[in-house]
Amino acid sequence: MISTVYAITLVGIGLVIAVFYFVIINSKKTEADYQSITKKWYSVRSKWFIFLLALGTIITFASLNPFPIPDQHKEYSSNDYQVVAVNGHQWYWTMTPATVKSGQPVEFQVSAADVNHGFGIYDENLILVAQTQAMPGYTNKLIHTFDKPGKFKILCLEYCGLAHHAMITELTVE
């Protein structure tokens, strides 16, 4: 997912650069009849607009179906889900238990004791695999299935004061 999004961004920015460069190198010559330019490019613009609308519609349906955030009202049964209670404090995490099994979904019940924190799960290559906000007064349910064992890191992803960057702990996946 991450590399796809990055690749789309690079290609997209590259295309915009190409279009602007094309116009810059074609800016020196003077075409006195601006109306003929606008007439031609207004018709292209209509198609471009329809293309963007169609693209937006497809992306919306494809990316929101199923809805990417777990249902917060659902009770996740203890037979199917491992439950981990997470609490963010200035500036440490409490996580019970701190060891889970791979292959079976985990329900992280994430809250905060003082201010807003961000519960980010990083794999052994320091790549972010899942996250949710940790908020005082709320418990966010984050569902994640680890597909392989390893030592994962929990990093704080919401600025929470002076030792925000030191709020790191470890999650073991067996």
Binding site: T30, R45, F49, L157
Partner: protein, 492 residues
């Protein structure tokens, strides 16, 4: 009122015009100087993350706080200078109110600087409730209060200015919908291709900023009460909604205020008209709602948010890219294509701003998708997209306008070597700064971390080099602004 009458310009006395020009220059010079200082702050943070500069976490987060609030403030005051300069040509604005806002703004700046560097407030410019009240002894309640009071004071100043905008627009056009061009869009009046884009854009900015600042005032007052009466505990998610609504609207609106310079100046440089028409009005009408509706894309990882709110945020985030890709950026490409334009530094910067805005849309839209946000939220991808917008979109509009006001835009001479050098240093530096942030985000590096893990230090060092180039380019721009702007006559 006939349409030709509506399109004619307002007459002021010579002394009013002289005073107005001084006021606009003051806004520009003050704003650009603050930008330069904030770039130095940004450079210091990148250098600290890259282990090239040793600063304590407390100072780092104070710098981070001043960087955030300083950039937003500078963007607001400078873009307002640009907007006011053009809007007063079409509606009768008060110099006194404009100056009043400027001095209220400076008062707020003093309060905020005091809270950060004397009071050691380091709770980030977003003052995310309840962090200002719970610092674990890093800063006092008083420091947090003065910071929020400073923001409140600045907001009040802008609300006063917008009242004057609203009064003047209503006096001339009768209603906000007429000023926005809606009567033309919906066929109640014939289309007037000379209806000023500055009026359309300013009406949009007026509406959204009035709402945004009002929400900001509400959340600031609630935060202030909580500081002194901790038993008053507003809901953390409600506060988050209000803060991001306020924050998103005010920073986003600076782009829409500044783009007036593009609408006004590119036609001047190309000799071609930028006509307002139905697609233009439709785009700006949509922008009114989209700028206010997209803010929950900051809350996609707040799972208790209603799903419909997040879906609306995703859809509107995509939607808000369309006006720039289809109307404004596209229009700029058309007007420049085979126009024989003379590439003055002002023209280059204004055209660059269209690139920055159009290209910056891409990482922004992607991150506003719920599924993408799960692995990009609060990584350096986020500063990546907004540095793209601000360094390559907003600032080129503002600096391009400053060059215009300095008389460079209409000059027959080629740009001076120092300007060209400044332009390319800035362009390369700003592009690299943004791209390094995006690459860092794609490597999951979190934002707002005073100290980076060893694996991330290379990115921060590349970012430091890029930021140095930005500072170099900006220094040259500022020197030019300080030398040429004060004595320059108003370009006619």
């Amino acid at each position: 009122m006939s349409t030709t009458e509506v399109s004619s310009k307002i007459e002021y006395s010579d002394s009013e015009d002289r005073n107005a020009l001084i006021a606009v220059k003051s806004h520009l010079i003050a704003g650009l100087l603050v930008f330069l200082l904030m770039m130095l702050a940004g450079l210091a943070m990148r250098a600290a993350q890259g282990t090239w500069l040793e600063i304590g976490a407390d100072l780092f987060y104070q710098i981070m706080t001043v960087h955030g609030v300083g950039v937003v403030g500078a963007a607001m005051i400078t873009s307002t200078g640009v907007q006011w300069y053009f809007l007063r040509q079409y509606v009768k604005l008060s110099n006194g109110v404009f100056w009043t806002n400027f001095f209220i703004f400076l008062t707020g700046v003093v309060l905020i600087l005091g809270s950060i560097f004397v009071g050691k407030y380091g709770g980030a410019w977003t003052f995310l409730f309840p962090l200002p009240a719970i610092s674990m002894g890093a800063w006092s309640t008083g420091a947090a209060a003065v910071f929020q009071l400073g923001l409140l004071v600045i907001g009040v100043g802008f609300l006063i200015l917008y009242l004057d905008f609203g009064r003047a627009i209503l006096a001339r056009y009768g209603s906000l919908s007429r000023a926005l061009g809606l009567t033309q869009l919906f066929g109640k009046e014939p289309v007037d291709y000379k209806h000023p884009a500055a009026v359309v854009a300013s009406t949009m900015v007026l509406i959204v900023n009035f709402m945004g600042i009002a929400a900001g005032a509400v959340v600031l007052v609630m935060g202030l009460i909580n500081l002194f009466y901790p038993e008053f505990k507003p809901d953390a998610l409600l506060m988050k909604n209000l803060i991001y609504f306020f924050g998103h609207v005010v920073i986003n609106a600076t782009m829409y205020a500044s783009v007036i310079a593009v609408y006004e100046l590119l036609p001047r440089y190309t000799g071609r008209p930028w006509k307002t028409n139905k697609p233009f009005y439709a785009a700006w009408f949509a922008i009114v709602f989209m700028v206010m509706g997209v803010y929950p894309h900051h809350l996609l990882m707040d799972f208790p948010m209603p799903a419909w709110g997040l879906i609306v945020a995703q859809v509107l985030s995509f939607g808000s890219g369309i006006p720039v890709l289809v109307v404004t950026g596209y229009g700029a490409l058309m007007i420049v294509y085979r126009s024989g334009i003379k590439w003055s530094t002002s023209a280059k910067l204004l055209f660059l701003s269209m690139f920055g805005w159009a290209a910056g849309v891409i990482p922004a839209i992607l991150d506003a998708m719920v599924t993408v946000n799960r692995t990009f939220h609060n990584t350096l991808w986020v500063p990546g997209h907004f540095h793209f917008y601000l360094l390559l979109g907003l600032l080129p509009m503002l600096i391009g306008f400053a060059y215009f006001l300095a008389g460079e835009g209409d000059s027959k001479e080629r740009p001076k070597a120092v300007d060209s050098f400044g332009f390319y240093a800035y362009l390369i530096g700003a592009f690299m700064t943004s791209m390094v942030f995006l690459a860092s985000g794609a490597n999951s590096i979190p934002r707002r971390w005073a100290a980076h893990l060893p694996e991330w230090i290379g990115f921060a060092q590349a970012g430091t080099i890029a930021a140095s180039l930005v500072v170099l380019g900006m220094l040259l721009f500022i020197m030019r602004a300080l030398i040429s702007l004060p004595g320059a006559n108003n370009p006619r």
